[in-house]
C-alpha cells in the first residue's frame, strides 16, 4: 500500500529534516494534554526547529496551508496554554536552547525558548550571577516562557525587579517575518531596554500564549548571587494581619525577596521525600501529563503532622546583599526590620514550627526552586487560582473561598496559598491551589466545578486574572468588552488567517 501524500508533513520535513517531524500517534499523544482541566486534543504534527530560519519557514508554511501553530517550550505549563484546541502544527522549541551574551559586567543574558532555569542557573553561577525564578516553577521550565507569562518572582516585592525583567525580545510574527522590540530594533543597538523605538510592543506579546507571534529570543536582567543573606519568619493567625505587616515592611522598602505562605504550602515546601522522588522533582519529571503520583498514606501522615505544627500564615522576609560591604547592608536592614517589627507588634523569628534549617531551605528555593512541585502529589493534580488582588481584598477572598469550599465538600484546609507582594505591595499576586485525584472522575468533576465557580466569585470580589488561561479568558474578556474587541482587531491585522494558537484567549 502506498503511503498517503501529506504536503504539510513533507513541507515540514523539507524545512527541519524528516527526523524532526513527528506524526506518530504515541508522540502526538504526549503533546495532547497537561494536568489541567483543559480538554485533550492531539496536534496533527509535532516539529522541532533548531534555529530562526527553520522557525520562520514553518510559520510561512502554516500560513500557506492555513494550519494552526502552537508554540511549545518546555512542557511544564500546567494551564493548557500549549494544548491544541484545533489540532495543527505543534512547534516544540526545546532544541532552540542557546544561552548567549551572558554578561557579568551588565548582569544580563540572552536566552532562546528552550533554555530552562536549571540550565541558565548553572551557566550564570559560573559568573557569580543568578536568574530570578518564580517560587512555583519547576527547574525544567522555560525561562523565556515563564518571563513572557509575567509570573512574579519572590524579588518582585522590590520595584524594578518585579515582572519587568525583560530587556529586549525578538519575535517571529504570524507572517513569518522577524520582529525586534526595544533598542536593538536599531541595528547594533545594545540590549538596554524593551521600550520603543516608538510604541512599546513588548507588552503586547506578554501573556499572549503565542497568539500574536512566537518569541524566539529574549534578553533578561540577572542579579549576582547573594554574598550575605538573612531570612526571617513571622507567624500570623489570619491573612489580613500578615498582609498588614507585609505592607509596613514594603512601605519602608525593606527586604528583597518577601512572600507569605499558609501552613499547607509551607508544609509542602519542607516535607521530606524519598531520594527517587527528590530526583524527579529536581529534574522536572515529577509532574506528568496526568499529574503526579499521589503521595503514599505515610507521606500524607507526615505532611499532616507537619502542617498541624505550623502557624496558619507565615511571612518570609529575605535580606540579601551582593554588592559592597554586604555584611553592613544586611546588618542595617536587620536593625531597621527589628525596629519596625517592635513598633508594629509582630515578631521576627529564625524559623517556625520548630523546623531546623528552614532559612537554608528558603535560601535554596530562591536560587532554584523545586520543592513546591511536591504539592501536585498531594492528590495527583493541583489547580491554581492565580490572580492579583489589592491587600485589603485578600482576607475577603480567602474567607469566601473557604465558604465556597464547604459547599463542594472540599476541606478548606486543603487549599494551598502563596501570596507575593509586587512592587512594594502595590498589589499582591496570589496562588490558591485546589487539589484533585486524576484517577477519580467524580473528584475531578467536583473540583473542576469548584474551580470555575470560585473563579467567577473571586473576580467579583476584586481578583484580577491577568493571565487568562482556560475558562478565565471568557470570564475576564466578558468584563472587558472593548479591550477584547481591540485584541481581536489587532489579531486580525497581524494574523489574518488566525493560525497562531487559535482558540486561546479571546481568539
Amino acid at each position: 500500500m502506498s503511503e498517503v501524500k501529506d504536503a504539510t508533513r513533507d513541507g515540514l520535513a523539507g524545512i527541519v529534516g524528516a527526523k524532526s517531524v513527528f506524526t506518530e500517534p504515541e508522540v502526538l499523544e504526549t503533546y495532547s494534554r497537561d494536568q489541567s482541566f483543559t480538554p485533550a486534543r492531539k496536534p496533527n504534527y509535532v516539529v522541532k526547529p533548531k534555529n530562526l530560519d527553520e522557525l520562520q519557514s514553518i510559520v510561512r508554511l502554516a500560513n500557506e496551508q492555513l494550519m494552526p501553530i502552537i508554540p511549545y517550550s518546555s512542557g511544564t505549563d500546567f494551564h493548557g496554554a500549549a494544548v491544541p484546541t484545533q489540532g495543527g502544527i505543534l512547534v516544540d522549541l526545546s532544541q532552540m536552547n542557546r544561552i548567549t551574551e551572558l554578561s557579568d559586567l551588565y548582569w544580563s543574558v540572552t536566552v532562546e525558548p528552550g533554555v530552562t532555569f536549571a540550565q541558565l542557573q548553572k551557566e550564570a553561577a559560573k559568573k557569580g550571577l543568578r536568574v530570578q525564578v518564580p517560587l512555583m516553577t519547576p527547574p525544567s521550565a522555560s525561562v523565556l516562557s515563564t518571563y513572557l507569562e509575567r509570573e512574579p518572582v519572590p524579588g518582585a516585592a522590590d520595584f524594578i525587579y518585579g515582572v519587568e525583567q525583560i530587556q529586549t525580545m525578538r519575535v517571529v510574527l504570524p507572517s513569518g517575518e522577524s520582529f525586534t522590540l526595544g533598542n536593538p530594533a536599531i541595528e547594533g543597538g545594545p540590549h538596554s531596554h524593551p521600550f520603543g523605538p516608538g510604541l512599546n510592543f513588548w507588552r503586547l506579546f506578554m501573556c499572549a500564549q503565542g497568539t500574536y507571534g512566537i518569541t524566539y529570543e529574549m534578553n533578561l536582567r540577572l542579579l549576582p548571587l547573594p554574598k550575605v543573606q538573612k531570612i526571617f519568619f513571622s507567624e500570623f493567625n489570619n491573612v489580613g494581619d500578615a498582609i498588614a505587616a507585609m505592607k509596613q515592611i514594603q512601605r519602608q522598602e525593606l527586604g528583597f525577596e518577601c512572600f507569605i505562605l499558609n501552613s499547607f504550602d509551607l508544609a509542602t515546601l519542607v516535607v521530606n521525600e524519598d531520594a527517587a522522588t527528590t530526583k524527579s522533582l529536581k529534574n522536572g519529571t515529577y509532574v506528568g501529563l496526568d499529574g503526579a503520583k499521589p503521595w503514599s498514606p505515610a507521606q500524607c501522615q507526615r505532611f499532616d503532622a507537619l502542617r498541624q505544627g505550623l502557624p496558619p500564615w507565615t511571612l518570609v522576609v529575605s535580606i540579601s546583599a551582593w554588592a559592597r560591604n554586604p555584611e553592613e547592608k544586611v546588618e542595617y536592614q536587620e536593625l531597621d526590620l527589628r525596629d519596625l517589627a517592635a513598633a508594629s507588634g509582630f515578631e521576627l523569628k529564625p524559623s517556625v514550627g520548630g523546623i531546623t534549617g528552614l532559612d537554608k531551605i528558603i535560601a535554596d528555593e530562591m536560587v532554584l526552586p523545586w520543592r513546591m512541585q511536591k504539592r501536585f502529589g498531594y492528590k495527583g493534580t493541583a489547580h491554581s487560582l492565580m490572580f492579583h488582588a489589592t491587600g485589603d481584598s485578600i482576607g475577603l477572598i480567602e474567607d469566601a473561598l473557604g465558604q465556597l469550599a464547604a459547599r463542594y465538600y472540599y476541606s478548606a484546609g486543603d487549599i494551598g496559598a502563596y501570596i507575593q507582594p509586587v512592587e512594594r505591595a502595590r498589589t499582591f499576586y496570589c496562588a490558591f491551589d485546589l487539589y484533585s485525584n486524576p484517577t477519580d472522575d467524580n473528584d475531578m468533576e467536583k473540583v473542576n466545578a469548584f474551580f470555575n465557580e470560585a473563579s467567577e466569585m473571586l473576580i467579583n470580589l476584586g481578583a484580577f486574572f491577568d493571565r487568562p488561561y482556560g475558562p478565565w479568558a471568557e470570564m475576564m474578556y466578558r468584563r472587558n468588552g472593548n479591550y477584547a474587541e481591540y485584541l481581536k482587531k489587532i489579531k486580525a491585522q497581524l494574523d489574518p488567517n488566525n493560525i497562531m494558537n487559535p482558540g486561546k484567549l479571546c481568539f
Binding site: 520603543g196 542595617y332 492579583h388 474587541e485
Partner: protein
C-alpha cells in the same frame, strides 16, 4: 478650513467658549523652539497654524469631538502642557484641529493604601507631588523639564527621564493603566481599570497588554488618553522644605545630595558604573555642563562666560540618596565614599557646589531647570540607551557632525551628553542636545539635527524617541518590520489617519500629504 457646520457641531459638544477659530488664538498653538518648526515659521508656512482649537473637559466630550473629526476627516492633534520641544504638536497639514486638554486637570483620587493616583491628563508633575508628598508618597521623580510639564504626556511621549530613574525606573514604568478614546469614539481601558474605573488592582492585561501601544512616542497618533492611574512610591522626605534664599533650596529630610568631579572621563565612567551596581542611591546622573552653566547662573551672559572659561566642566556626577533610617543613609554614604576614592573622584568645591543648589529642588520637582532653554533654539538629537561605557563614542559621533556646520556653532554645543542612570543602573539614557542662540541659526541647525538622527546606525547607544523631523529617522535602519507594525496599529486604531498624521506613523492615504510636500 473647517466648515461652519463642523465648527457648530463641536461647539455644541464643548460649548461656544471652548472652541475657537480666532487667528490670534490659533497662532499660539503653532510655535515650538525646535529648529524644524522655527524654520517653518520663518518660511511663513501657514500649515503650522491649526484651523481650530478645541478644549474639551471630559472623556465624553473628547469622545464626541473625535467622532465629529473622524466623520468629517478633520486632523486632530491632542496637546498636553504645551511645552513639547520637538515639534510634535505643531500641525503639518491643513484641516487640523488642536485639542488642548488643559480643562482636564483634575486629580480624581489618591489611593494611599495601594499607592496610586487617578487623574485626568492635564496634571503636572508639580501637582502630583504637591498632592502626594504630604501623604508620604510621590511619583518617583521628575524630568529636567519645567514643573508644569504634564506627567502623562511626558511619559507617553518620552518615557519620563527622571533624575531618580536609578531607583524608580523610567517614568513610563509608573504608568499603571489608562482610559484612551479612539478616533471612532470607542473607549479602551487597560489593566484592572478595564473592569472598573476605580480598580487599581493590576496594570497588565488581561492577557496581552494593550497599554504599550499608546506609550513612548505615539504622540497622540492613535487616540487621546483621558484618564490615568499612576503608580506612587514611598516618600521619606516629609513636608517639602521652605526655600529661604532664592536659588539655594534645602535638601528634603532623609535625603542626601553629593556632587563629585573627575579629571578623566574614564574615572567618571568607572565611578558611575560602580555606583549603580553597588545598589545605592535613588539617582545618579552625569549632567551636561551646558545645563549646569545655565542652571547655575542667574543671568544668561554669565552662563556663557563661565561656560567658556571652563568653570563648569564635563564629568561631574551627582548622586541622590534617600533613607528610611539614618543607618541606611550612613551605609550608602560609606559605599559612595569608597567608590569615589577608588576612582579619583573629588568632592565639588564649595563655591561650585553652591551654584548647584538648584538641583536640591530640581532633582525632585523641577523649578529652575527651564533655564537651560534660555538660548531660544533647541533640539534634542537623541535619547539613546546603553551602558555608561559608550558615553565617549556617543559624544564623538555628535561632535563629528556638529563640526561640519556651515556657520560657527555656539560654544555650548561642545558639551558631553547628559547621562541619566535608570533601572538600578542597568542602563543609562544619553540625551544629546543642540542649541542655537538666535532664530536664524535654526537654518544651520536643522541639517545638523537631521544628520545626527540619520547617523543612528553608527550610534553606539541606539535611539528610540522619534523627534522632528521624523522622516529622517523612521527609515529602513529601524527595520522594515517595525515600520510595518506601526502601520498595522494605525490601520486598526485610526484607519482614517486623523490623529496627528505624519508624526509617528506614515500611513498616507493618497492625496494626504504635509503642506508644501509634493506628491510622489
Amino acid at each position: 478650513m473647517i466648515e461652519p457646520h463642523v465648527y457648530q457641531a463641536i461647539a455644541e459638544v464643548v460649548g461656544p467658549d471652548f472652541v475657537s477659530d480666532d487667528r490670534a488664538t490659533r497662532e499660539c498653538y503653532s510655535r515650538d523652539p525646535h529648529p524644524s518648526v522655527t524654520v517653518r515659521k520663518m518660511n511663513k508656512d501657514f500649515a503650522t497654524v491649526p484651523d481650530l482649537v478645541v478644549l474639551p473637559s471630559s472623556t465624553e466630550e473628547v469622545q464626541a469631538v473625535l467622532r465629529i473629526a473622524n466623520r468629517y476627516k478633520v486632523n486632530v492633534i491632542p496637546m498636553g502642557s504645551g511645552d513639547n520641544l520637538t515639534g510634535v504638536c505643531i500641525p503639518k497639514m491643513a484641516r487640523t484641529m488642536t485639542m488642548d486638554l488643559k480643562r482636564m486637570d483634575k486629580v480624581l483620587e489618591v489611593d494611599e493604601e495601594n499607592k496610586t493616583i487617578r487623574m485626568q491628563p492635564w496634571v503636572s508633575y508639580a501637582r502630583i507631588q504637591a498632592t502626594c508628598m504630604k501623604l508620604g508618597l510621590w511619583n518617583g521623580g521628575t524630568p529636567a523639564a519645567p514643573s508644569s510639564n504634564n506627567a502623562v504626556s511626558n511619559v507617553l511621549a518620552y518615557g519620563g527621564e527622571y533624575q531618580t530613574a536609578l531607583a524608580y525606573g523610567l517614568g513610563i514604568r509608573s504608568l499603571h493603566s489608562f482610559t484612551v478614546v479612539l478616533p471612532n469614539g470607542d473607549i479602551i481601558r487597560t489593566g484592572s481599570h478595564g473592569m472598573s474605573r476605580e480598580d487599581p488592582t493590576y496594570w497588565y492585561g488581561p492577557g496581552p497588554d494593550l497599554k504599550g501601544i499608546w506609550e513612548m512616542g505615539a504622540f497622540g497618533g492613535l487616540g487621546v488618553v483621558t484618564e490615568v492611574v499612576w503608580k506612587l512610591h514611598s516618600w521619606p522626605g516629609g513636608d517639602w522644605p521652605i526655600e529661604e534664599e532664592y536659588g539655594h533650596p534645602p535638601i528634603p529630610k532623609n535625603h542626601r545630595f553629593y556632587w563629585y568631579r573627575f579629571n578623566k572621563p574614564e574615572d567618571c565612567i568607572k565611578a558611575a558604573h560602580a555606583l549603580c551596581y553597588a545598589g545605592i542611591g535613588i539617582g545618579c546622573n552625569i549632567p551636561m555642563r551646558s545645563v549646569n552653566a545655565m542652571c547655575g547662573e542667574t543671568h544668561l551672559a554669565d552662563s556663557f562666560k563661565r561656560y567658556d572659561e571652563g568653570y563648569y566642566e564635563n564629568f561631574w556626577i551627582y548622586i541622590i540618596t534617600a533613607g528610611y533610617s539614618p543607618r541606611q543613609l550612613d551605609y550608602e554614604e560609606k559605599v559612595l565614599l569608597e567608590i569615589m576614592k577608588e576612582n579619583n573622584g573629588e568632592p565639588l568645591d564649595e563655591e561650585r557646589r553652591r551654584k548647584m543648589d538648584n538641583y536640591n529642588f530640581d532633582g525632585f520637582r523641577s523649578g529652575n531647570f527651564v533655564r537651560w532653554a534660555r538660548q531660544g533654539i533647541y533640539a534634542i538629537t537623541a535619547f539613546g540607551r546603553g551602558p555608561v561605557e559608550i558615553m565617549a563614542g556617543v559624544h564623538e559621533l555628535q561632535q563629528s557632525i556638529v563640526k561640519q556646520a556651515d556657520k560657527p556653532v555656539p560654544s555650548m554645543n561642545s558639551t558631553w551628553p547628559w547621562y541619566y542612570a535608570y533601572d538600578r543602573g542597568y542602563w543609562w539614557v544619553d540625551e544629546r542636545d543642540l542649541y542655537g542662540d538666535q532664530l536664524d541659526f535654526a537654518r544651520t541647525m536643522l541639517p545638523l539635527v537631521v544628520q545626527v538622527i540619520r547617523s543612528t546606525p553608527d550610534n553606539p547607544s541606539g535611539y528610540w524617541t522619534p523627534n522632528e523631523p521624523h522622516g529622517a529617522w523612521f527609515g529602513p535602519q529601524i527595520g522594515p518590520n517595525f515600520h510595518l507594525m506601526l502601520r498595522d496599529m494605525k490601520k486598526v486604531l485610526d484607519p482614517n489617519d486623523i490623529m496627528n498624521p505624519n508624526t509617528l506613523v506614515f500611513v498616507r492615504p493618497k492625496g494626504k500629504k504635509p503642506a508644501g510636500q509634493k506628491e510622489g
